[in-house]
């Protein structure tokens, strides 16, 4: 189970990372997150949408309505240039966090 704080911090980078691959819509994003994390990242579905709106306000992503094959229209989001940059910064941040965390949580090497 992922903590609430970590969830809050990771939501935006994860969305950016998903959208960096291809444009996508809300339901599908949630499906992907849930599927990939095996349920450990359990978002309240409705909470995704205010986040997307906020990211759009910040200029990280843009959206457009698109009719899908099933007949139901969907709002597709895609990452912007600004969003790409943001993603890189985030990734760098996460990597250094991960590096620090793995380094310090590894068993202490025997002292010579």
């Amino acid at each position: 189970m992922v903590s609430k704080q970590l969830m809050a911090a990771s939501t935006r980078p994860i969305i950016l990372a998903i959208l960096a691959r291809d444009e996508d819509y809300g339901y599908s994003i949630i499906q992907k997150v849930t599927g990939i994390s095996g349920g450990s990242l359990d978002w309240t579905d409705g909470m995704l949408y205010p986040v997307l709106q906020r990211m759009e306000m910040d200029g990280l992503i843009s959206s457009r309505w698109k009719a899908s094959e099933g007949g139901r229209p969907r709002r597709y989001y895609r990452i912007t240039g600004l969003g790409q940059k943001e993603l890189e910064t985030e990734l760098a941040g996460w990597r250094s966090v991960w590096k620090a965390l793995t380094k310090f949580s590894a068993p202490l090497p025997a002292e010579d």
Binding site: Y27, I30, D45, G46, M47, Y49, P50, M57, R75
Partner: protein, 892 residues
């Protein structure tokens, strides 16, 4: 049975309770719900259960709504504050609408504003037309800049005497000698001729003898005939359209013959368009200059200055150089002529000879000078009228400013509201400029209407012939535009700057009285208005006084019942017979005559000499050739000596009568001058008498020394004194005598006093114009005062109500409300008097004989202004004083 759509609808209703969940967000959530539902449905649960789970998965509306609210707050936070756009046409419409509504609601003020401005503008436009007309004089000639009149400064003991006549042969001589001169044109201005065509016979005073090049140099286009050859033939004449109609009616005049003085025939070779009203050169007929020979004029004689000479230069810039060259040429020519006489040459070399110069044709109207520096141009009038026009306009603008600022109180809330709604200062400024612009445009339209309607009346008043077309010329239209812009700017500036500076907070605070601090300025402006009006009133009074002074001045002779008959054609030959015939009537006690028009003896000459005169000093003395009985006929009093008598043989052509000025110049008392030998104009003889100074020219001309010699053969004007009372009967007898002696000549006469009075007409006209403008200035000022007074009375309604309740009488209230203005109108006098005094003093300077500026004029003008102002104000005051105080106080 579970219905998905119904369930979704109910679910959406719970979402819609949250304000921040906009429809678009709900749509997002609905899609999410439906997708989740579809995904859950495949498992082995009921639809109802699947829907319930999906709803749970989407989440609690409160929490989602709270997230959206955060975003919304952030968005609001990030938004840049609102600024008004630079260009908002809708706002302009709002300004117009506000202005229009204000006008409709306060018709009185609007009327005063527009009417006052319109009257002021109309004055300004009229004067602009007048000035434009004055400035347009002689500019219609195509090569006007290259045309000049030769003038000369003659110096002598009394100072420099400026004349614009020249010697007969000067023109051709300088044209040959000075290469800068393209052509010189001789022009003989005065030649009264008797012209006959068939049985039509008239005296023509405006026949001019000119060199043929006249038609090429000046732009007086011919309707018929060829300008190049029209005046080539010795016996040719070019006439104007009017003359053509007068003599030939509808006949074709070309080739027809006019008979001059019953002896000489002239063939009409050209018909010219009438000379424009704005030409200083005026004539009805042109004859070749050489034709003067046929009339017995020696046009080859040097010696006296008789004609005008015009020159056209290749380069107008060379005027000064040409002047120098002319002076040198004329001096050399003069010395050359004296070569045989070394003594005379030596004397001539000691003299200061005339200096020649060129006066641009286009300056003649405005800047002409004659005599001892007497300005006869209209420049002064142009200047003073322009100033007056601006003053009247200023008064009208002040009205506008005053009323607008006074009403600022009423507009303050509007301004406050506009500011609160986001208007910047510049928006308010442009709003009020726009308002003054709108008012001005209305006023300009009204003014144009007034000008168009009153143009004929103004023409009569000003003695002009300004055509309607003058209103449509581009300088005039530009002038209107300029006047509109300036007026809108001046009139709108104060209100717009004042009102735009108001702080909304203080406007809406209860008890605040807006516009209060401008009241001092308002009063100052009222003071300026009345100051200007008073100055104009004083000016009018003094101009009229001067005219009255000139009309009433004792001339030194009896001008009543005195007339003169011009002797034209062959009439001079029979002068003696006419005189004898006239004297037969008991109603004609005296007949005499002069060589020049007796109401304007202008001929004069240098070279008077007498015993004991300083030989170095040159004196200019008037020369009058007259008949016996000249002083008797005019009724001139003698200061010393006697008049001419037939019994003294030398009195005819060998003796002088002089005026007191001559005696003064000689440095003698009148009685001592009698008997002295005087030499002048080739006559040497004793001074037999000294006449008291008399005005041989209208009074605006200076009295100069004058000598009279008896030469009956030179008489061209017979002077006839009529005996008391029976003027019509006497005139009949004069006419009968004329018909008997000169049956072929029309009888023509003029009264002395008519001539004198006519010469004052220009000043009377000026007085009349001034009277109108002063009247209008007062009217406009009062209009403004009326508006202001009624506004202030309105403002003090409650105060008046309280005073009345506490026992003030209506009279006291009127005094209260009028006191204020009285003080300022009285103060206005302090400003107006010195200004008017200085201006009038300088105007009067140009009159050698002038009236004083009476103190009474100031008091009367000031008093009149005060009375008019009081009537204006107290009418309003009375109305508000009479109101029932209950009405004023009831709503409290």
């Amino acid at each position: 049975m579970f219905e998905l759509d119904k369930a979704v609808k109910e679910w959406k209703l719970t979402l819609q309770k949250h304000e921040t969940l906009e429809d678009a967000f709900i749509a997002d959530l609905e899609l999410q719900l439906r997708d989740t539902f579809d995904a859950l449905k495949s498992e082995s649960i009921t639809d109802e259960e699947a829907f319930r789970r999906a709803v749970v998965r989407v989440g609690a509306p409160e929490i989602i709504a709270a997230e959206y609210r955060k975003n919304q707050a952030l968005a609001l936070d990030r938004r840049r504050p609102w600024r008004p756009g630079r260009f908002m046409p809708a706002l302009g419409m709002s300004y117009m609408k506000t202005a229009w509504r204000k006008m409709k609601r306060q018709k009185g003020y609007a009327f005063i504003n527009v009417a006052g401005l319109a009257v002021g503008l109309a004055c300004a436009l009229f004067i602009w037309l007048w000035v434009q007309d004055e400035l347009s004089f002689d500019h219609f000639h195509q090569n006007a800049p290259a045309l000049f009149r030769i003038e000369q400064d003659q110096s002598g003991g009394q100072g420099t005497f400026h004349v614009f006549v020249t010697q007969y042969p000067m023109g051709p001589a300088i044209q040959a000698a000075i290469p800068e001169i393209k052509r010189a044109i001789r022009y003989q201005p005065a030649a009264g001729m008797l012209i006959r065509y068939g049985d039509k016979v008239f005296f023509e005073n405006r026949v001019r003898a000119v060199d043929p090049a006249f038609l090429a140099a000046f732009t007086f286009p011919l309707l018929r005939g060829d300008p190049a050859s029209a005046l080539k033939e010795l016996r040719s004449v070019v006439i104007t359209e009017d003359m053509s109609t007068k003599y030939f009616g509808s006949e074709d005049p070309l080739g027809k013959t006019l008979v001059v003085n019953n002896t000489l025939s002239l063939a009409v070779t050209g018909v010219m368009r009438n000379v424009p009203a704005n030409s200083t050169i005026g004539f009805d007929m042109l004859v070749p200059f050489e034709f003067l020979r046929s009339l017995g004029v020696n046009i080859d004689a040097w010696g006296s200055n008789n004609i005008i000479t015009w020159v056209e230069l290749h380069d107008p810039g060379a005027a000064a150089v040409v002047g120098e060259k002319m002076t040198k040429f004329m001096t050399d020519t003069f010395f050359e002529s004296l070569k045989g006489n070394p003594e005379a040459l030596a004397r001539a070399r000691a003299l200061q000879l005339p200096r020649y110069g060129l006066m641009p044709l286009t300056d003649l109207r405005l800047k002409a000078v004659f005599g001892f520096g007497q300005a006869i141009g209209t420049l002064q009038s142009v200047k003073s009228f322009s100033v007056i026009a601006l003053l009247v306009l200023l008064i009208a603008c002040i009205n506008f400013m005053n009323l607008s600022t006074a009403r600022a109180a009423g507009r303050a809330k509007e301004v406050g509201l506009r500011k609160v709604s986001g208007a910047l200062r510049r928006n308010i400024i442009s709003q009020f400029y726009g308002e003054s612009g709108l008012t001005t445009v209305l006023a300009v339209l009204a003014a144009l209407f007034i000008v168009a309607a009153l143009r004929p009346a103004f023409n009569t008043l000003a003695g002009k012939q300004i055509p309607f077309g003058a209103l449509l010329t581009s300088p005039f239209l530009l002038g209107i535009l300029a006047a509109t812009a300036v007026t809108a700017f001046v009139a709108g500036s104060y209100p717009s700057l004042l009102l735009s500076s108001l702080q909304p907070a203080s406007v809406f605070r209860v008890g605040r009285k807006a516009g209060g601090r401008s009241s001092l300025l308002r009063r100052l402006l009222v003071m300026v208005q009345f100051g200007l009006s008073i100055a104009l009133l004083v000016g009018t009074a003094v101009v009229y006084r001067q005219v009255g002074f000139m009309q009433g001045k004792a001339l030194g002779f009896d001008r009543e019942q005195l007339l003169y008959l011009p002797l034209r054609g062959d009439a001079p030959a029979s002068y003696q017979a006419l005189k004898d015939e006239l004297l037969r009537s008991p109603l004609v006690p005296f007949v005499s005559g002069t060589g020049q028009i007796p109401t304007f003896l202008s001929a004069n000459s240098w070279g008077a000499d007498w015993e004991g005169k300083d030989p170095e000093s040159r004196i200019l003395v008037g020369t009058t050739l007259a008949d016996f009985d000249y002083p008797e006929a005019l009724g001139i009093e003698m200061a010393a000596g006697r008049t001419f008598r037939r019994e003294f043989g030398t009195d005819k052509g060998g003796a002088f009568l002089v005026n007191e000025e001559v005696a003064r110049l000689m440095g003698l008392r009148s009685q001592d001058a009698v008997g002295k030998v005087f030499k002048f104009q080739g006559v040497e003889g004793p001074i037999v008498g000294v006449m008291k100074n008399y005005h041989y020219k209208p009074v605006q001309n200076p009295l100069e020394p004058m000598a009279v010699v008896v030469v009956p053969g030179a008489v061209r004007f017979a002077i006839v004194r009529l005996a008391g009372g029976a003027v019509p009967a006497a005139l009949k007898q004069v006419e009968a005598a004329w018909q008997k002696i000169n049956p072929r000549l029309p009888f023509e006469y003029r009264f002395f006093d008519d001539d004198y009075d006519q010469s004052y007409r220009d000043y009377e006209q000026m007085g009349a114009i001034l009277k109108w403008f002063a009247g209008l200035a007062v009217f406009v000022a009062c209009l403004g005062l009326f508006g202001l007074a009624s506004f202030l009375a309105e403002q003090r309604r409650k105060e008046v109500g309280v005073r009345k309740v506490l026992g003030a009488s209506s009279g006291q209230v009127v005094v209260l409300l009028s006191k204020e203005f009285t003080r300022w109108v009285l103060l206005a006098n302090l400003v107006a008097w010195p200004v008017a005094y200085v201006a009038l003093k300088s105007w009067l300077q140009k009159f050698p004989f002038r009236t004083s500026i009476p103190a009474a004029a100031f008091f009367v003008a000031g008093g009149a202004a005060l009375v008019i102002a009081l009537l204006t104000v107290s009418g309003q005051a009375w109305r508000s004083a009479r109101k029932n105080p209950a009405d004023a106080l009831r709503y409290e």
